[in-house]
């Protein structure tokens, strides 16, 4: 897509507008930063002071690298569409969105993009400084360009996966008044447990790990970091990409169906 087309479509202007809106709420960014950084730091400290089970393949270096990257990946794949969309249905601001000559769901994607890109302003320096502190304990000798390419692709796939899963839950707002409980279970709880937030997926016992690898959650957080750590073979990476792509397509179709039938039942109350 060339630049002129992008501009003509209005997407670029909308993206810039969201950047400006977010910069207006700088204090919110600070609170968000604390939320993103604190828990991974706590978990890193916890994992560095455990007595390992015999089958646990991770070393201290693995754990440090893992939780150094968690805030960055967590932020890049984050999507707040559940909160934004259910709010828009409740207070009627969706009505306005529907009237714009612009796909409403696209604006949520752009808002997420602007938000997540801006968080990198402090996340990247923070990660680098923290890495300097622990650099003699983190091994990075295995990194090669092809691995970094896989890493970037995995992040994009993870972002899409989280977006379509969150989006499907968000669109249920057409029928369910409060989707946050559902989101807490399907998107928050299981994601934290099996996506690799609390426990890196690679350190699970065999049977739990297989389940985690089949579910979409691993691809939203753990998978890119596993690639970065160089612990996955090429075939494992391809299988991962295939699994994640399957989930993305499935949920994109689900989202499409929900959106079509939801719009029919939507009566645009509020304003």
């Amino acid at each position: 897509m060339n630049m002129a087309m992008f501009k003509a479509d209005g997407k670029f202007a909308v993206l810039i507008a969201y950047f400006k809106i977010i910069l207006t709420y700088r204090a919110m960014m600070l609170i968000h930063a604390i939320r993103l950084l604190l828990l991974p730091l706590v978990l890193a400290s916890a994992w560095l002071s455990i007595e390992k089970t015999a089958s646990n393949p991770y070393s201290d270096s693995d754990y440090l690298l893992y939780y150094l990257l968690v805030p960055v990946i967590m932020n890049l794949t984050d999507s707040r569409v559940v909160f934004k969309f259910s709010q828009a249905v409740k207070d009627g601001s969706l009505n306005r969105e529907l009237l714009k000559p612009f796909p409403p769901l696209m604006s949520y994607l752009l808002e997420s993009l602007a938000n997540n890109a801006l968080q990198l302003l402090y996340l990247v320096p923070f990660t680098l400084v923290f890495w300097l502190f622990v650099r003699d304990r983190v091994l990075l000798g295995h990194l090669k360009p092809s691995l970094l390419l896989f890493f970037v692709v995995a992040i994009i796939i993870g972002t899409l996966a989280r977006l379509v899963v969150s989006g499907s839950i968000a669109l249920l707002s057409f029928w369910i008044e409060d989707v946050t409980t559902l989101n807490l279970i399907l998107n928050g709880g299981i994601w934290a447990l099996l996506g690799g937030m609390i426990v890196p997926v690679a350190t699970f016992p065999e049977n739990i790990r297989h389940i985690a690898e089949l579910l979409p959650y691993r691809y939203m957080l753990s998978f890119p970091i596993e690639i970065f750590s160089g612990r996955l073979s090429n075939s494992e990476i391809y299988i991962g990409f295939a699994t994640a792509t399957f989930w993305i397509i499935l949920f994109a179709i689900i989202m499409h169906i929900i959106w079509k039938s939801g719009l029919k039942t939507y009566t645009a109350y509020g304003g």
Partner: protein
Amino acid sequence: MRQASIILHLWKATIIQSMEYRASFVFAIIANFFDFIFGLLQYLVFFTAAKSIAGWDSDQMLVLYGVFMLVFALHFILLYPNLVAMGDMVNSGNLDLLLTKPINAQLVVSFKRISLEELGSIGTAALLLGWQFYRGIIVADLGNFLLFGVGIITSLLLIYCMFLLLICLAVLMERLDNMSQLLWSFFSLARYPVEIYPNRIRYVFMSFFPVAFIATIPASALLGRASSVTVWSGFALAIVGVVGCSWLWRCTIKSYTSAGG
């Protein structure tokens, strides 16, 4: 006495108010229940890859979680709704109205509202602790229970200090939403025993920024692993903290120039 009866009346009013929205009240209880279950599952999953954390085995960690949830639920019932209300009060100018009333403003700001949504969590946390008691992880020892009681009071007082600091911040900044998120983030520091942190950070958590006393120390007391000196010095720290933060609150109100209206 008069103050207490005013607070009781305010509580009654908020309960009646929340009963107006019964469906969302039930939803909130369900959400909190799942929150508790997922918190519990986190520890179980954690221990599939670890035998112990900094000398705490899985049973002792469950005691820590029970204590943590007890404190968290109590904060949620007593302080959380007031923290949410404070943002609105400063924004809408209702704080000015409150300050003109012949009543202790700090008391009303701190305890005006109550939320019963987390009552279930208290019950579940108590069940968890009871189960650990039944299994003999927690030993019946009057001295330990006494220290545990002091530890819980210390913990609640320290959370109240944090609450006071946050509402002072709300008054000073004149616009500060999502303060509860900030408070919850800090709670995540207390989910794991304070022994996991490097020495220097642990020292900070035992003194200037007493995270250790939120859950680790009360849980250690219950398990008979805390020295009474530590517990009582934490209590002293908490008293000094509440007095200091109350003083800060009065200073803040003095310099308050009113916003909104």
